[in-house]
């Protein structure tokens, strides 16, 4: 299986304090990769770097064999899309929010309508097009945020704790959506929910205090973790 993104010795500091330390990671084309770790471990920091939103303090990002972080980041950002933990929206309708990225890509209005339609059906919100984003529930907002990212047909989809603030029904629905789209795109999910990671992913990486302490197939991570701390981790001792 070929690698879509590789991080080499990536570090990130905030005001001299290290938030990520020597991250080496390969994301394989087509897989679902879960990034697990307690709050403050550095999951969001790592995803933002992978999304080309923040520059690593040190280290390299190789995207499809080429070193990224040149002057032309927009090119990469058009292929990698991140859904934030706290969903953000333009103060407008559901339709406008999903259409924004499609317009940037120069699709015709018919194509945009078609794509918005399809993706809203995927998240079971086909009747929500003209609703104001402010007047729908938190679960519905998270689904729109997913739909908005999926509509762009990203090569790599980064999801930051997509179900952290959701009720069980919405959580189940979001997981279903992730399963569906994982057939057509590579997905990285940050989560502190171990069971979710187990349900969704092909591989798992354990992040602790800014270090990637273990990476492996989902089954191996749970059945025979290599790292002592991962063992504690999957027994739930860090949570």
């Amino acid at each position: 299986m070929n690698v879509i993104m590789e991080l080499k010795k990536v570090t990130r500091e905030y005001e001299g304090k290290s938030a990520l330390c020597g991250i080496n990671l390969k994301i394989k084309h087509g897989e679902v990769f879960s990034l697990i770790g307690p709050n403050g471990a550095g999951k969001t920091t790592l995803l933002r770097i992978m999304a080309f939103l923040d520059k690593p303090t040190n280290g390299k990002i190789i995207y499809k064999g080429k070193e990224a972080w040149g002057p032309n980041l927009t090119k990469y950002r058009k292929k990698v899309t991140m859904v934030f933990q706290r969903p953000l929206f333009f103060n407008s309708t559901v339709f406008d929010n999903i259409a924004y990225g499609l317009k940037l890509r120069g699709y015709s209005s018919e194509e945009i309508e078609q794509k918005v339609d399809n993706v809203l059906r995927l998240v079971k919100m086909e009747d929500f097009q003209e609703r104001s984003i402010k007047k729908i529930s938190g679960g519905e907002q998270q689904r729109v945020a997913m739909a908005r990212a999926i509509a762009l047909n990203p090569e790599l989809l980064l999801l930051d704790e997509p179900t952290a603030n959701l009720d069980p029904a919405n959580t189940k629905l979001i997981e279903k959506i992730i399963k569906k789209i994982s057939k057509i795109t590579t997905v990285v999910v940050a989560t502190h929910n171990l069971f979710q990671a187990k349900r969704l992913s092909d591989r798992i990486g354990c992040l602790l205090s800014g270090r990637l302490i273990d990476v492996g197939n989902t089954r191996d991570i749970f059945s025979r973790p290599r790292d002592e701390r991962t063992k504690k981790f999957v027994r739930g001792e860090f949570f």
């Binding site: 939103l53 927009t74 950002r77 990698v80 953000l88 929206f89 333009f90 990225g101 940037l104 990212a149």
Partner: protein, 211 residues
Amino acid sequence: MSEQLFDLVVRSLWISGTALLLALTWSLPLSLLLGLKKFRGRKILISAFNSLLGIPTVALGLTLYLLFSHAGPLGFLGILYTPVAIIIGQALLITPIIVSLLTSAIESVDPNLKDLAKTLGASERQASLAILGEAKKGGILAGVAAFNRAISELGIALMVGGNLAGATRVMSTEIARGVTTGEMALSIQLTIILLLIVFGLTVLVNLAGKD
């Protein structure tokens, strides 16, 4: 309305409208810079614009008169007593209004929206424009306030325009002239039209801005 009066109103509208457009060409990027970028001296610049909000039109008018007059450093331009001089003067007058109101409108937009725009594929510039779009309500209000200030001011139009009939005569200068020559009916008529324009615009924008 007599034809003369009509021409006067139209001239006022296009002079102040052009002044607004001119002011926007530098006020928009300036507001984006002040509202979005963190740099040294930003706070000072913002308070400078805030304190210029109340600049007396006579002070600006006199300064421009000295600049544009024959002996002045910009006298060679030959724009004194032309609509161009009024347009420049009004554009300068309303710049602090636009910059102050628009900057605070942009500042009140969640800065994380820029990251949202970027992750959806926007370039740096497109992301800034998205923020500007989110501030559009405040922006339109800033534009209306600025236009109203421009069309209502007297000092600049009088001093660098000269109230020349058929050329630089605008509503405010004609109202003032009417009072001094005793043409009260004319002054009152024009004042009512001016008030209708100013309030009408504000009401219109408020109605359109409702969601």
